[in-house]
Subunit: 188 residues, 2 copies
């Protein structure tokens, strides 16, 4: 059996990445990598689903034992991708999806340049802003912050292997599947 | 406008490449590159469709003027890919398909490593033999020759970017389209 593909997906907030991945993950040839973190779970968060919530000691010992594919410290908490479930699922022939922000993706690229890096982009910054406004769940300040962050993230998009412009959800999902199929057919 | 993709397609005889390409070329985003040759046209062959039939002098002058993307001599005749229509159609944003045998593909790779190289393979040598026998248009000797040639050609398949196993025509065409779509989405 062929090993699965390691697929790194990044997108600015508001690009529809969540909806896309939800659709794609219905196919059980995919495995979604759950990140480890040392931060406290929020009320709606479930351990093992949203994150694996670990103590700082446990996280540190995983780092020491080379158990993290990548990790970073942010606001005095650790966030990272545990190596074991990734490797196990790749060996089972599953395509492992790492949903990760651009900095994390760049760290993965250092250690796993063979991974496939997919960036999901909004049709335009204006459209992204419209979408965030439409959600109506955040303050103007938060939206402006996200838009600024998106602009920075977009400058990293050329470090990825593929860019999908999520103009229309169905088309974007089809594009994602085309990329994965092409990667399956690639001479490795 | 983005430039089109240069797509090199090779396949042993009996892999269904002809039927596949016929289907794909219905989409007018593709341009099929017609080869130049100095050999005599066969009764059913049309100039500009099957080949561009040129005199040896004309072919030689195209070589001298750097007008050939690749060429070779075979049985005292020249065969080659004219550069001009390829470049013109790429500039128009069309995907240019070069249907070419493995040696020619390797020559293209030398000068255009950015091209996408797709190898179409039979599910197995046994299946290839069955298909050639089923056609019932050739002698056993010719079939054996083709099977031997296919075995050699298959050893080149790992020099290509992608391998499509043509087990089922519809699936193979879908795979081809997935590859092209993925290449369109590639960060160039």
């Amino acid at each position: 059996m062929n090993k699965g593909l390691l697929i790194v997906v990044s997108a600015p907030s508001g690009c529809g990445k969540g909806t896309m991945l939800k659709e794609i993950l219905k196919d059980n040839r995919y495995y979604y990598s759950v990140s480890d973190t040392t931060r406290e779970p929020r009320p709606n968060e479930i351990d093992g689903i949203h994150y694996n919530f670990l103590s700082k000691e446990k996280f540190q010992s995983k780092i020491d034992q080379d158990g993290m594919l990548e990790y970073a410290e942010y606001c005095e908490n650790y966030y990272g991708t545990p190596k074991k479930p990734v490797e196990e699922n790749l060996n089972l022939g599953k395509h492992v999806i790492l949903e990760i922000e651009v900095q994390g993706a760049m760290r993965v690229k250092q250690v796993r340049p063979d991974a496939k890096f997919i960036f999901i982009a909004p049709p335009s910054i204006e459209e992204l802003e419209r979408r965030l406004l439409k959600r109506d769940t955040e303050t103007m300040e938060v939206i402006q912050e996200r838009v600024s962050k998106a602009k920075i993230e977009l400058t990293y998009s050329n470090q990825y292997d593929y860019i999908i412009v999520n103009d229309e959800l169905k088309k974007a999902i089809k594009d994602f599947k085309s990329i994965v199929r092409a990667c399956e057919l690639e001479v490795r």
